[in-house]
Symmetry: C2
Subunit: 346 residues, 2 copies
DNA sequence: CTGAAAGCGCTTACAG
DNA sequence: CTGAAAGCGCTTACAG
């Protein structure tokens, strides 16, 4: 008798009096195996507490059932929510998630190595400054990958919110409500999300012939937003509206306004982007544009799975429209917000 | 010539004119292989862009280099921060993290199955209502595992903050500052974290002969905290101090107070627990006890790695003292806070 | 419907 | 210092 390890196909085959091949087939519900044998094998497997060794199976089947995940900075709750939804959606599809990276810094090559070492089936990248080099690697090795909340590089797949439109829409709604001194607080400058949202915002202002009051960089963090807010509000004359390109910075701006005793939205309107949970907290009640996270994840997984079955498929870029969440931090005529819907598409 | 797949040890061995065994040894820096051969093999491997197949290696070495991770509810930023730190600490140790579960709900058996399917080396569990059944499984299969922020079950390892002491300490400091109408807002009732913090808080009050003003359940969420705050403050006579057993609920309580126009800390003191990032936001400036997350993770990994090399090691429970963060939401005489340090240990 | 054989890519005693 | 052989646990053509 073997040293008592976990049971293997061999163990089961001996117990059932059939060959290992048959055990394998029976366990994988191969239609060719007779009902009786199949039932018997499955019963014995269950009795023995048999668990298939995914490593061995992957080695031969050349598909590991593992998908790599690159997560952005979790201190922005948006990415935490995204992670939760990705996991919830992908688990029922029989795939496992392996964490490649968490955080704001550059993704290193070593993490990408593990993708190949562990023979991952694909890769999901949420933000994180991804050098085009990584996209290139995935391309070269035909590794299916999709980026969420990030613009496509090379021929990869990417799913985002209509960021440009969102920014445009916000400017439109603020201008229509009479604001004329509008400031923008951008995020990390090298991120497409930040760039596009701000570009849409500025473009709309430019079309309406309104000069931007000021532009700040808030580095996509609460602290950055707070600091930007303080500087904007400390001046003798302050803007009458601020667009922070993400919610976490908008919360900082709101706290700055609170600090300066400036009434929101009477003296100043503040609008964010993302609709993180904290945006709807009673203490903030932030007007913002909600990213359609569920839809974005669903679309991303569709793209990814399609490429896992057919790696020759070309990359696709998808944009999904966000939804205005009108709360208490901005003066916007509701009919004007509707007009905003006509903002030009990306 | 083989179909052009990724290079394997065989490819390299042919190119280098040595046996596969030698390639394997050279690549793993086996001291017995001569300098020249080793250098040559490594050079060729690099030239060919060789990446070892971790699956094949794991199959024979019986250690996969993968650690399973069970994450609590990421909508509580505490768990997001924890995840980030765990990843940052474990990656340099050459282990990979596979996501088993994210969220507040019960961990299902299926997720645990994958631990064995993928031959994981160990498992890290952060909160999440873990049935004792899961602990039992790890025990039975000798799977090294450590729980963070969670009390030990059976003989498993567990690392937490001194939760009981923290609660005691807070009550002590509030009472010493003259509060007499103290309410507690608990989290999900079945979590040890919530139970212990509240128990310490109540025990101290009892020792001082002060009756608790009220006890609420806030389900460990912002909304729950906000609701609890509203109910406590809507009454004709309201408490003069509230201890929310975690920060995310304390923020809800603070927003409720703001809503009711009740001055913090003049009319009411509010204290939380965890020291999540939002606790130090200008809009809250919450007095709380910081969990020593870095230290907790470090200790947890020590325990885990020790058991990965020697699975027979017994379980250990560790408690690490938190740190009072005195900010703006509570009246506490600083000398009294120091006295609080003497609160009894768990 | 079932089995014997080969093989996925690596490592590791066992020889020499 | 190096190689031939066996094996990790599974699946999958190939026969029958």
């Amino acid at each position: 008798m073997k040293k008592s390890r976990h049971p293997t196909v061999l163990t089961i085959s001996e117990l059932a009096g059939v060959s290992p091949s048959t055990v394998s087939r029976a366990l994988n519900d191969d239609a060719r195996i007779s009902q009786e044998v199949r039932a018997k094998v499955q019963r014995i497997a269950k009795e023995q507490g048999y668990t298939p060794n995914a490593l061995a199976r992957s080695l031969v089947s050349r598909t590991s059932g593992v998908v790599g995940l690159v997560l952005g900075n979790l201190s922005n709750p948006f990415y935490a929510e995204l992670a939760e939804i990705i996991h919830a959606r992908i688990a029922p599809m029989g795939k496992r998630l392996m964490l490649l990276h968490i955080g704001g810094e550059q993704l290193d090559m070593e993490s990408m190595q593990t993708v190949f070492q562990y023979q991952m089936d694909g890769c999901i990248v949420t933000s994180a400054s991804m050098s085009s080099k990584v996209a290139e690697i995935c391309e070269r090795y035909r590794l299916p990958m999709v980026m969420i909340n990030r613009v496509a590089q090379l021929h990869s797949c990417a799913v985002s919110c209509h960021n440009y439109d969102g920014g445009y829409w916000i400017a439109d709604a603020l201008l229509a409500a009479g604001h004329r001194k509008l400031a923008a607080v951008g995020g990390r400058p090298n991120t497409s999300t930040s760039q596009n949202r701000e570009a849409g915002f500025l473009e709309c202002m430019s079309q309406r012939g309104v000069e931007p009051w000021a532009r700040y960089c808030g580095h996509s963090t609460y602290d950055g937003g707070y600091k930007a807010g303080c500087e904007l509000l400390a001046a003798a004359e302050h803007p009458d509206g601020i667009f922070a390109i993400n919610d976490i910075m908008a919360l900082g701006v709101l706290d700055a306004a609170r600090e300066f005793g400036i009434k929101v939205p009477d003296e100043i309107s503040v609008v964010g982007f993302d609709d993180i949970r904290a945006a709807s907290w009673a203490g903030y009640n932030l007007t913002t544009i909600a990213q359609p996270v569920e839809a974005m994840v669903e679309r991303s997984l569709d793209l990814l799975f399609a490429r896992m079955s057919d790696p020759t498929l070309a990359g696709e870029e998808h944009y999904i429209r966000g939804e205005f969440r009108i709360r208490g931090t901005a003066r916007l005529g509701s009919e004007l917000v509707l007009a905003g819907r006509e903002a030009r598409r990306e």
